[in-house]
Assembly symmetry: C2
Homo-oligomer: 256 residues x 2
């Protein structure tokens, strides 16, 4: 039975896609069966996995509007070893279409029932907004990973995200919990990052992952080759950091 | 008669808010009358201007739904010398409400008619999405500034943004044009940034501003003090870069 993890933060550019793609690859490298779902109309997780978003015959759009079952939409990303449900700008249409549908918030949860037993992990890359797509991911998810750039605007936006998670937990998904906050693009020479990081550990305690993802240009280069960093440059500090994050998550589950 | 500039890119975290706040402050420093409109439910431009988004009596929500005239919503940001229409999470409600309204795309343009002659520049900070809020900004705007982080996902998303601008120009706002692409958080030691920058100038030619905003931690620190960089640390490379951007824009208009 797969564990469903939503990777979300409405603040833009904090490393949601980079975390989704590289965590999926890291779990796959430890022989777990992984499905990555791109729920962002930008289609970055799709392109970052080496799949052309313009060539998708079906995508998370069909998944949400139940036009086809998930097993018809998943495709294997051979090189990285995980499965993908891609996205493209069609998904913007799903946002509008969903608003008028009954049960608009529980669509993704329902659609994933059919494939949960085929995977160990289902990761959902969310768009930079607290909109109906992100709500669908939070309703479907068991846990939430919050990538956090240690800067002011990202810190300031955290309370709105936590409030949304609490509301969804109360009304739609009682089992939902924050699995962890992940410090990304972290530069220890930068005083601001240090201060924000201290505030995070003061407020969230051990919900903050020990693993910190450093700023590492190989993580920014890898997507232009359509590869996770683990395949683009496995010795890089970025690839190693995501591998150690996967280890930290697996250890916490006592499943290593 | 104010020139209305939309500052937009659906890619998250590329420096839209940092550009909006610091360009507003730079224009104000050259004695122009400036209105900054925050059109992002995150309310970053509001907080970055030192205004508490939770204390707003009225915001761009009321502006879009025409519940009050703009002159009742603007407030002066004394320290920075520009005027502000703030935003907060109420704006998420406007997105949904607008979808059912007649003329939903032209609301902002209509609302700004009443204040255009009070300002020289009206800058609109957009959310990281090609949604109804961004469409309203593009319909109201004379020109568009596209902040661009020189990385793969931002470059890859540019064609979708340019297509949206073309469509709005054709259907709703024939005068709309791209005023410029602004390279932000630029680190010349980084090969990827150099390559992406070369692709930008190859495709967009002189639409790419000569001014390049360097990665400069003072730009990330300033918002935690509720100040533009020009007031937080006017000698910083970040503050100077935005001042020179204002100069480049003014020279291009032949108004210096
Ligand atoms: N640790 C890192 N070191 C260096 N660059 C990084 C790192 N993590 C992400 N990046 C780069 O920073 C940019 C933003 O990251 P990414 O696109 O993953 O964030 P996001 O939260 O998914 O953005 P969006 O809000 O648009 O969905 C990308 O260009 C990415 O390649
Ligand atoms: N030139 C720069 N040097 C260093 N840090 C910067 C620079 N420009 C922006 N930043 C920081 O990078 C982060 C992203 O910038 P910003 O929030 O302005 O982007 P945005 O495009 O408005 O994001 P969003 O998509 O969430 O609206 C912020 O923490 C900001 O302080
Ligand atoms: Mg993303
Ligand atoms: Mg912003």
């Amino acid at each position: 039975m797969a564990r469903i993890i939503a990777i979300t933060n409405q603040k833009g550019g904090v490393g949601k896609t980079t975390t989704s793609v590289n965590l999926a690859a890291s779990f796959a490298a430890t022989k777990r069966r992984v499905l990555l779902i791109d729920l962002d109309p930008q289609g970055n997780a799709t392109m970052g996995s080496g799949t052309d978003k313009k060539q998708l015959r079906s995508s998370s759009f069909e998944l949400l509007l139940q036009e086809s079952p998930p097993e018809k939409i998943v495709r294997k990303v051979e090189a990285a070893g995980y499965w993908l449900i891609g996205a493209n700008s069609d998904l913007t249409g799903a946002e509008v279409a969903l608003l008028e549908e009954i049960g608009r918030e529980v669509r993704l949860r329902g659609a994933l029932e059919a494939v949960r037993d085929r995977f160990d992990y289902i990761l959902i890359d969310c768009p930079p907004a607290l909109n109906i797509l992100t709500v669908n991911a939070l309703v479907a998810a068991d846990t939430v990973i919050i990538p956090m750039q240690c800067e002011y605007y990202a810190l300031e936006g955290l309370s709105a995200l936590v409030d949304t998670i609490k509301k969804i937990k109360k009304l739609l998904n009682p089992g939902l919990r924050i699995e962890g906050l992940l410090r990304t693009m972290y530069d220890p020479r930068n005083n601001l990052a240090l201060q924000v990081s201290q505030q995070l550990t003061r407020h969230f305690g051990d919900q903050v992952y020990n693993t910190v993802i450093p700023r590492n240009v190989r993580l920014a280069e890898a997507p232009s080759h359509g590869l996770p960093a683990l395949l683009y440059d496995k010795q890089s500090r970025g690839a190693m950091a995501y591998l150690s994050l996967a280890g930290e998550i697996l250890r916490a589950e006592g499943r290593t």
